[in-house]
């Protein structure tokens, strides 16, 4: 039995994280140490430790004597994020997939289709990212998977904060088709085609996002 204890600082960090991901703390908001401390009934010290722990993710920006601020979905941040996605996903697509990966991918696609059917934006985003995470798993490294999952968290936060004006994923008739053909190419071990489809999909996706950012 691993028996894992959880420090107060870690709990506060998780609390703040969920607040951010739920959109209850909007981009640009400053994290006031004393406010959080009194509201949670812990010392300022503990809050500081929590914020430092949080600093590893990119959900907040930290500046000396200025405190922590919830990250904002700037164009640069998005491009940076998608460059990393492209690197990993294209790399993953250019290696012939194992049967395990294909199986996981198939399931991820099924989940995605179900989510699209339901029309729940949040769920669609989650299943979309899960599909792409399943492609990255082809690189066969849990450590890379963790790294990618960090990217996914960050991205879903950005998407959530942009979603004041709905995402309208479901409205897009190509959305599902793009994923289907990626799956088929990977399953067929046609790496060349898979790479092309992945590239096109990511390029198209970030284009849509940037358009949405401007409005």
């Amino acid at each position: 039995m691993p028996l894992q204890r959880v420090s107060s600082a870690e709990q506060v960090r998780d609390h703040i994280t969920t607040l951010i991901l739920n959109g209850e703390l909007k981009p640009g908001t400053a994290l006031r140490e004393t406010a959080i401390a009194t509201s949670l009934g812990v010392s300022r010290n503990t809050v500081r430790e929590a914020v430092l722990l949080l600093g590893h993710s990119r959900l907040i920006r930290h500046e000396m004597h200025r405190g922590a601020v919830i990250a904002e979905p700037t164009k640069d941040a998005l491009v940076n994020l998608y460059d990393a996605r492209r690197g990993l996903e294209v790399g993953a697509a250019s290696v012939e997939a194992s049967d395990d990966v294909v199986a996981g991918l198939k399931q991820a696609l099924i989940d995605l289709e179900a989510a699209a059917e339901s029309g729940n934006d949040r769920d669609i985003v989650a299943k979309d990212l899960a599909f792409h995470a399943a492609t990255v798993r082809n690189l066969a490294s849990t450590r890379i998977d963790n790294f990618y999952s960090g990217l996914a968290v960050e991205l879903s936060f950005y998407l959530g904060s942009l979603a004041a004006s709905r995402l309208d994923y479901a409205e897009d008739e190509f959305f599902l088709e793009e994923h289907r053909r990626i799956y088929l190419a990977i399953a067929a071990r046609d790496t060349e085609t898979a790479v092309r489809y992945v590239r096109e999909h990511l390029d198209e996706t970030i284009r849509r996002l940037q358009r949405r950012l401007e409005s």
Copy 2:
């Protein structure tokens, strides 16, 4: 002008980091908060913050009520590290390289050859890792580059701590040749061959390391 201030905690973190990388703090050593605090003339508070900051890297292991301990080069840690390397480097090798990347790679190879000539183990390790980092740059993401550089730091720490019984890189006649042919394959845009050479090189390297670990 960016004008960056540096907090005490960050300085302490950097200090501890260099101590670790220089081998002055050996794997398994416990980081005692009060000892560090008094020795550096800062408060225990600040040391705690420094250790939390350090926690983002994997140079230390942290457990509740047990404090931080310098990471140890276990077999699992090495495998985990090399899985990540393989994922990134193979992915990078399977994409046709840009001229920029090839140029950087060529320079990295020259540096590596010079280091091998000099026979300085530390320098050889650094240039070796720099060469591989240059291949990863083909993924065209600064973020992935940062991630990889974290892997490299961790690896060079492990290598350093194993190097009580010299690395004897230079003694290995294949060492340089393996890098040369990787470069040539990448420069020729022969991705299939490049991938094979990268795979072989990494597999061979970790095999050597594991052998060294057992002794």
